[in-house]
């Protein structure tokens, strides 16, 4: 009887530990913020936030996304691509100095953050064409 209780207690402890989301899952990323930013953000030589966001939206539509949300004041656009898989992106644009916009992109593929620089490079290449401006690397 006593052994049964201990086994039950141990089992539930294991189950609960499995359910509890770790801090790493909620807050963390595999890479440092500096590393992430090096490939997730670019600067463009324009002070026009509206035009930048409109270009972001049209680039996302070109890439097969459906927009989920857009907010001019906050400078964010979120969109989802469904193509047998699910890819979510949030792109933000905010002023950098007086004559640049800083564009930051985050992608999530299925249930994982995309932490491979290549897809972000592809996104900024497509965005450059839509904006008729060069994307500058930011340090």
């Amino acid at each position: 009887m006593h052994t049964h209780r201990i086994v039950a207690a141990l089992l539930s402890a294991v189950l609960l530990a499995g359910c509890a989301p770790s801090t790493k899952v909620i807050m963390g990323s595999e890479q440092s913020a500096v590393q992430l930013r090096s490939y997730q953000q670019r600067a463009f030589d324009t002070a026009d936030k509206t035009q930048t966001l409109r270009s972001v939206i049209s680039t996302l539509q070109d890439l097969g996304f459906v927009v989920d949300k857009a907010d001019l004041d906050l400078g964010t656009v979120s969109a989802t691509k469904l193509s047998g898989y699910q890819l979510r992106m949030t792109v933000t644009a905010r002023p950098r100095g007086t004559n640049q916009m800083l564009v930051r992109a985050n992608a999530q593929y299925m249930d994982k953050a995309v932490e491979d620089p290549k897809p972000y490079q592809d996104f900024f290449t497509a965005l450059e064409k839509s904006m008729f401006l060069t994307a500058h690397q930011v340090d």
Binding site: L63, V66, V67, V77, L87, P119, Y120, F123
Partner: protein, 188 residues
């Protein structure tokens, strides 16, 4: 005789396990071309876009919201300053062919999850058309819609997630939009 068939059974098992792991890991990574324009991107853009003359962006958005409502969509989000309307509708995904197949399979004791519901999502985006000198025009707009669908089966599992690319769907939408614009312009 191939190398693998000469190997000990243990090695073979390991190889199978490793390749299975590689396949599973492959499933979790983003496809190579997910964020690159494909050869049919331009064609899709033409299918999904229309240029509309003689209307302001605000009036066009109002007319578009009307069409979406006519089609039974609910507006989820909008940011008119960026020309964006997001709408969706939930509908039954029952399909006679699938049900027949499921019944046939059930006769032999197999379970086949039939599609039950679907959510159709639309994002409708407008932008001012450009004049010859590259400046935005107040009285001509370009509108683009993108549509996607999520289907759940009777087990409440996502059974299908894809983009709608049937030209007839877009044509139907733009036909209705033309009528709605006419009504919108009449009201002014």
């Amino acid at each position: 005789m191939t190398t693998s068939s000469r190997g000990r059974p243990g090695t073979r098992g390991l190889l199978i396990a490793l390749s299975a792991a590689a396949v599973l890991a492959g499933c979790a990574t983003i496809p190579e071309d997910a964020l690159t324009p494909t050869p049919d991107s331009l064609e899709r853009r033409q299918l999904q876009s229309r240029r509309l003359d003689g209307i302001s962006e605000t009036s066009l958005l109002a007319a578009s919201a009307g069409v979406l409502q006519d089609l039974g969509f609910n507006i989820d989000e909008s940011e008119t300053r960026l020309g964006v309307i997001v709408a969706s509708k939930d509908r039954s995904a029952w399909n006679a062919g699938q049900i027949t197949a499921a019944v046939a399979l059930a006769l032999f004791g197999a379970h086949y999850a039939v599609d039950k519901t679907q959510k159709i999502r639309v994002s409708l985006v407008t932008r001012p058309a450009l004049a010859a000198d590259g400046t935005p025009r107040a009285d001509a707009q370009v509108l683009r819609i993108t549509i996607q669908r999520l289907v759940w089966n009777v087990d409440n599992q996502l059974s299908r997630i894809d983009s709608i690319e049937d030209p007839a769907v877009y044509q139907e939408f733009f036909d209705r939009l033309s009528k709605s614009i006419f009504l919108e312009l009449q009201a002014i």
